[in-house]
């Protein structure tokens, strides 16, 4: 129906993420925080998005994304994550370097370009951070991730993603080789501060709760 502007795409993406991964209700101020803008700007934009039927919005009552809006958001997320795969796998960037570039590339409009990029990359199901890539219809694999901080001593796990996507955190993990796909086992969990001793092959690392809380894992099945 309508063609979203880059800004509208960014708002819809933020609203989608807040709706799904966030815990709190999607209100004006949470959007303002995540977009690094003011509540007044958000209110203006919400009216526009509602006019175009991408969200349901009632003054003072918060926001709910519509099917149409979700479709737009998933399209952008698909582009973002595919470009991230391109940047890491093909152009050999590190996983903590690609986010900003993908933020620009995701707004390149051609659907055919994304279709071919997807094919060229071998139709990847996850991006370098372990986040699932929606297909053309918006569907994506959602495997049962849980927090490394909830792991148990002696158990083996595969890292599947992160909850903190900041460059600082990703760089930190890279130092220890803690990347999606890597197999780890928990050697010991300290009673005092819930920090843990982690094993990758023969190497051992000491990990604070702060860090383990932001790592997602799934059970290792041999």
């Amino acid at each position: 129906m309508y063609q979203p502007t880059s800004t509208e795409e960014n708002y819809l993406k933020a609203i989608y993420h807040l709706s799904n991964t966030g815990i709190k209700s999607v209100n004006t101020s949470s959007i303002a925080t995540s977009m690094e803008t003011t509540a007044a700007s958000v209110t203006d934009m919400l009216r526009k998005l509602a006019n175009k039927e991408w969200i349901n919005y009632e003054k003072y009552k918060g926001v709910k994304i519509t099917r149409k809006g979700e479709k737009v958001a998933l399209g952008i997320i698909r582009k973002h994550r595919l470009w991230e795969v391109f940047l890491t796998n093909i152009l050999e960037f590190e996983w903590d370097e690609v986010h900003h570039m993908a933020e620009e590339l995701e707004h390149v409009s051609s659907e055919e370009l994304i279709k071919r990029l997807d094919k060229f990359l071998g139709q990847p199901k996850f991006d370098p951070h372990g986040d699932p890539i929606p297909d053309q219809t918006g569907k994506m694999e959602l495997h049962d991730k849980f927090n490394l901080s909830a792991g148990e001593t002696g158990e083996k796990y595969i890292i599947t993603g992160v909850t903190d996507h900041s460059t600082l955190f990703l760089k930190h993990l890279r130092k220890y080789g803690l990347l999606p796909g890597v197999t780890v086992s928990i050697a010991e969990i300290m009673d005092y501060d819930k920090s843990m001793l982690l094993k990758i092959n023969k190497d051992k690392f000491h990990l604070s709760l702060e860090v383990s809380k932001n790592i997602l894992i799934k059970k290792y099945v041999s």
Copy 2:
């Protein structure tokens, strides 16, 4: 000094092209035509570009691009042409399909991205249309091209580019396999309308002057 907006980049690119490949002086209306906008909008923008020292501009006296402006323009042209190579060589688009996508991709800002893309593509010197790709400093190969319409009977030539970049023309050439890099020989030139009989390997084509005037060639050296 200043960071150009996408719009400013497009104006500088247009002015650069008019300065070099165009015959007429670079005046307000020629820019308006090539940008598909009004003379009034151009005047507004020229003042901005002059303030940022990318052009020299005196009211009613036309425009001359500065060193700084040329540097910006060549940077954009470099990105545009590298993305075109990516789209044709890697994603297997046809040469007449890539222009519009490259117009969007050229505004993605990361210099490091372009550096790596260039490396990944094998540091190509020409884009799919035979246009030279500037290096990081703005230098590019300028081999002595001339018009196919100025070619001589019996001579062998290599196609190096085109002067008409429209989709319609490029599609037309593609039908005959007349792409940059292809070797052709002129079998006959008709006295009456200057149309020519062209040979690629064993195939023969009849080409109007209209078409041959828009094809660039260089001498074949075995």
